[in-house]
């Protein structure tokens, strides 16, 4: 019972956080300069209709805007995009698979890179600093700088940049996790008894670090989502990140609120996953 209660409380808290994030976005966009401008005003054919719409929007209170957004959501959509005049759900549905695929490939490749580097380096007695240096350097490179450098050098693409960013952060985490595991007393005893390195990893190291990998998964997802916008914009990938950038530049409130909602949902539920033991917490 307490297990269910803990999970319900966590879900409720996450949903509340998501709602607050969406409400904050509405507040921000409503008071942003340019919110009451409409590109259609430039075209004589649509100028009158655009002016009427602007007047209607200007008379709306914040609460009314929020209620209308909520009503759109309850009707199963996210409203209509201001810049493209098409349903937001359609826009996101077309771009979400592109971003999801990019994220999935980036995260998997990043994890593999980090794991294959951290496992041997964490076991080294000397030279760990030297072999870990590439990841330290990668950690210091901003996403946009890495993407720009890749384009300039004509090497790799969006997946490589995302995976390198994730690998750099995960490597640091994994390495300290594994170093701690290597130093544990039961492992020293197992080594003294002559267990081979692969057997040590399989029977002692991995079972000990697996629960903490959930926290690493959250870290990877948040890192990848954060880097999604600059990476998609610089590599012109038609994904959700690029749509978000276009929405903020054009004050497209329905699209922005929908993307904020999605991002907050993903981060919130990924954060829930990182709590490894609900039963322990409930107790």
């Amino acid at each position: 019972m307490s297990f269910l209660l803990t999970i319900s409380t966590r879900i409720a808290r996450t949903m509340l956080l998501v709602l607050f994030a969406a409400a904050g976005t509405i507040l921000l966009v409503r008071f942003a300069p340019g919110f009451f401008s409409d590109a259609r005003e430039m075209d004589a054919r649509y100028a009158e209709a655009a002016r009427v719409e602007i007047q209607v929007t200007q008379q709306q209170t914040l609460l009314k805007i929020a209620v209308e957004e909520a009503r759109e959501w309850l009707n199963g959509g996210f409203g209509e995009s201001r810049q493209y005049s098409v349903p937001v759900s359609g826009l996101i549905a077309a771009r979400a698979p592109v971003s999801a695929s990019l994220l999935a490939r980036g995260i998997v490749l990043g994890w593999l890179l980090a794991a294959f580097a951290a496992l041997p380096i964490s076991g080294l007695r000397k030279g760990g600093l030297f072999w870990g240096a590439p990841f330290t350097i990668l950690l210091a490179i901003p996403a946009a700088a890495m993407a720009t450098a890749c384009i300039l050098a004509n090497v790799g693409g969006a997946v490589l940049v995302l995976s390198l960013l994730i690998a750099a952060r995960d490597f640091k985490f994994l390495r300290s996790l594994l170093e701690e595991a290597w130093r544990s007393p039961h492992l020293l005893q197992a080594r003294a008894r002559g267990l081979s390195a692969p057997a040590l990893v399989r029977t002692h190291i991995l079972p000990n670090v697996v629960p903490q990998l959930f926290a690493l998964a959250t870290l990877s997802i948040v890192t990848a989502l954060g880097a999604l916008v600059p990476v998609e914009v610089i590599f012109t990938v038609p994904g959700v990140g690029q749509l978000a950038w276009s929405a903020v530049m054009n004050r497209d409130l329905p699209v922005l609120v929908a993307i904020t909602f999605l991002m907050a949902c993903v981060v919130g539920f990924a954060g829930m996953l990182s709590t490894r033991d609900f039963t322990q917490e409930a107790a």
Binding site: L16, L17, V18, F20, A21, G24, T25, L28, V29, F31, A32, P33, T136, I137, L139, A140, I141, P142, A143, A144, A145, A147, T148, A149, I151, L152, V222, T223, L225, G226, A227, L228, V229, P230, V233, I234, A244, W245, V248, M249, R251, L256, T260, M263, A264, V267, G268
Partner: protein, 266 residues
């Protein structure tokens, strides 16, 4: 040892950048129309950009602006985070829950996405100094939640420490406790957060600038220099176009190694 080397390298870089900006005959905004996209020469040691502006001076100025802006923003963030974290740690549980929930709302979105959203909703067509202030102010105002969480955890540990309990048992009032016992320990709580924020803010400015949301032209910044690299015609001219990226990485490496050393020593 690493801390001293990092500090020395940083001081050397700042000194060299200041000297370059001060002594060069070119201003960071001055356009040499006879040397547009020029390669390295006697007049322009690292060449010029697409408007004929001297790259060395612009990179040096970007380094100084980035460091100064990030340092001030990190100081503001640390003060906000410390106020928030300490208030949450030393307030009744219901108030602490509300304060922590507020920080969680900010943390519910990826930081870069949040930065991009908030910065883009501020005026973009203002004067360059205003855009610079707006960019670093956004970083300062949005950077505190993670730091506040860390300071909150540290303050909770301080609150539960034996000497604090002893102080309370001796009848010290909350203000006396804060002045005598808490204040001396604040430095160890706040300094690591401040040092983490400086490189994080420089990197964030570079990311924002590359999306056209950073410091406005002609003021040089890491972000605007990355944005310039979009011009493929520049790339054919010389390898010096990579200078801003290389120097940005060096500065971030120095700052991060310094910050790691201080954290390890704290």
């Amino acid at each position: 040892m690493t801390k001293r080397i990092a500090l020395l390298l940083l001081a050397l870089l700042i000194f060299a950048a200041a000297l370059t900006v001060r002594l060069s005959r070119y201003d960071y905004a001055m356009q040499d129309r006879d040397a547009i996209m020029a390669p390295s020469s006697a007049q322009h040691s690292t060449g010029t950009d697409e408007l004929g502006r001297d790259r060395t001076v612009r990179v040096a100025a970007a380094l100084l602006i980035g460091l100064a802006g990030a340092t001030v923003a990190a100081a503001i963030t640390t003060i906000i985070a410390a106020s928030f974290g300490l208030l949450a740690a030393f307030s009744p549980p219901w108030l602490a829950s509300i304060l922590l929930f507020i920080s969680d709302v900010f943390l519910s979105l990826p930081w870069l996405f949040l930065l991009m959203m908030v910065r883009s909703l501020l005026p973009l067509t203002a004067s360059p100094p205003v855009t610079a202030v707006a960019t670093f102010l956004v970083l300062a105002v949005l950077g505190w939640p993670a730091c506040a969480r860390a300071i909150y955890r540290g303050a909770m540990a301080l609150r539960a420490s034996e000497w604090m309990i002893h102080g309370r048992a001796c009848g010290l009032r909350p203000l006396q406790l804060m002045r005598l016992h808490l204040a001396p320990h604040l430095r160890t709580l706040m300094l690591p957060q401040f040092l983490i924020c400086v490189p994080a803010f420089i990197a964030a400015e570079a990311n924002l600038g590359s999306l056209g949301l950073g410091v406005g032209e002609p003021l040089p910044s890491w972000g605007s220099m990355l944005l310039e690299l979009d011009n493929s015609a520049l790339l054919a001219q010389s390898h010096w176009v990579y200078l801003p990226i290389a120097l940005l990485v060096v500065v971030l490496l120095i700052l991060e190694s310094f910050s790691s050393e201080v954290q390890a020593g704290a």
